[in-house]
Symmetry: C3
Amino acid sequence: MIVLFTDFGLAGPYTGQVLAVLQREAPAVPAVSLFADAPAGMPKPSAYLLAAYAAWFPPGAVFLAVVDPGVGGPRGALIAEADGRCYVGPDNGLFELLLRRSATQRCWEIAWQPPALSASFHGRDLFAPVAARLAIGQAASRLGKPVAPMRKPSWPDDLAEIVYIDHYGNAMTGLRGAAVPAAARVAGVAPAATFSAVAEGEAFWYVNSNGLVEIAVNRGRADRVLGLAVGTPVSIA
Amino acid sequence: MIVLFTDFGLAGPYTGQVLAVLQREAPAVPAVSLFADAPAGMPKPSAYLLAAYAAWFPPGAVFLAVVDPGVGGPRGALIAEADGRCYVGPDNGLFELLLRRSATQRCWEIAWQPPALSASFHGRDLFAPVAARLAIGQAASRLGKPVAPMRKPSWPDDLAEIVYIDHYGNAMTGLRGAAVPAAARVAGVAPAATFSAVAEGEAFWYVNSNGLVEIAVNRGRADRVLGLAVGTPVSIA
Amino acid sequence: MIVLFTDFGLAGPYTGQVLAVLQREAPAVPAVSLFADAPAGMPKPSAYLLAAYAAWFPPGAVFLAVVDPGVGGPRGALIAEADGRCYVGPDNGLFELLLRRSATQRCWEIAWQPPALSASFHGRDLFAPVAARLAIGQAASRLGKPVAPMRKPSWPDDLAEIVYIDHYGNAMTGLRGAAVPAAARVAGVAPAATFSAVAEGEAFWYVNSNGLVEIAVNRGRADRVLGLAVGTPVSIA
């Protein structure tokens, strides 16, 4: 399976063109979009989101992961293999957390060259064909050269910021559940086991189904009620 | 075919994870998303929408229908079979109208248990695997125990409220065409056969392609022009 | 491959019903949505967008292209074949630019009739079944009668207006790169090779990966910074 993690949006032309490339190059491999609305142009919060959600997929999955504000500039192009999953995308820190958390990891700078490479859409022209080739069984070592990826040692293991606002207005942090004491207040709100455990309109935090600390309001939008957006710092107290 | 009717949104992680589960459990069965923006956390308007749109699909379709504000609480988990179609989702009234309108119906409380069940995402962990199993031919009777579902006798047969605002700003009601006299005014506006039958900027109502009374503005957004939102009551006069 | 170019939106019921029809009528043909958010009800800007993006697909692709404000009225229903690609949709100018730019073109008025045709959703009831039939190899000449399509001679070869705002807030014009001098200012902004060539927050224009002149802001939203929307005229100076 090829899993898309991007900031492309779904409705516009980018995801569709990428899916067309994958269909052409790896027609027998199913492709699903996991996130098409990762924080736009922001590899740092995206890295925490990707690490949390990629872990849910079984080994063997190939991730096409593109949050790429530096496209067309000098940033590298990476294949990463970590704990049996493959990742293809820009070398800008997007893979920092999943590399840091994995037991095994190897990286390659992409050497494969497409017949035509646009300046602004490497997702379509470079990363998608490489992901398709990996998904049909080509070895990473044939598509790239071993490389030490850009690392971001200053990024914390868990990020006390909002990294994603979901369709309901729930606000995901870059904190894993284990990083927060069970009774702590996060962004000023107390924990609860689930939505129906608090009154309507009440805010709470919980550990979501992919292990991230998430702030929600029962039958309301936490982003509006609490004024949260991607990048908002959250206190733990 | 597996048909998704949810309030998950498409771009975020929920629909993608559900599609990944369906792909893994029923790889030969195509899945399409009918609604990913059903009224968020509102089973009542969603029930009128689901009943109107499910009827368009041929018998044999399996609906994964999840609008589930009570997830993690005591609400039941249901398989419903009605007029040859199967529905999997929370037992919270979401299936009330389609059950009421069907000639034949049987329901089962889901007994099948997943290896791991999160508190907040039964769509992925419980309902999707069950829908996949039904779609590949497992009998509902092997996945659950016969049950009388929660019924909502106080909900009317047709709902004089807005139940959905579409991408164009058209406002669907929970009223079927036959429930409204052909010459009546709905929400203050007169009927017309189609968009081009009224002047630009003019509001009208018509029976949409799935049988619901819908309020629209030719080359405009009815939601903004008339101040309509999900839950807005509509008059019939 | 069947490629969808519509203003239906993705989350609501329209794209899902169309995909269900395609799946039923042409189950072996993959379908991808290229645009689901073409300018709503606006065939003119959509025509420039379609011509630019369709050219990226290989010959043999079948486009289901529906931006159809006149649905239910007297406008025709068209199959167009141009440079080896097929297009199915309303005869309202949507195919004007791709016809004008193609070396070969033939058109047919659709004669095939569906068992049931709603007044408001020809995308589902008429255009999708016809696109599916073309995609599985039926001849256009068996589905329609040769016709001269509606032409729009007053529409320019390149349109100095915004035709699309993408997910990042970048604003695409209806101008192809060759229509603008390389050093010109477009909408008051200077050209740059790529995002990272300008300072953060700075606006520039470039030729995008499908050949259209596009106005962007490095790490910002050009639509908000410059007040651009679909239909905004752009100066070239």
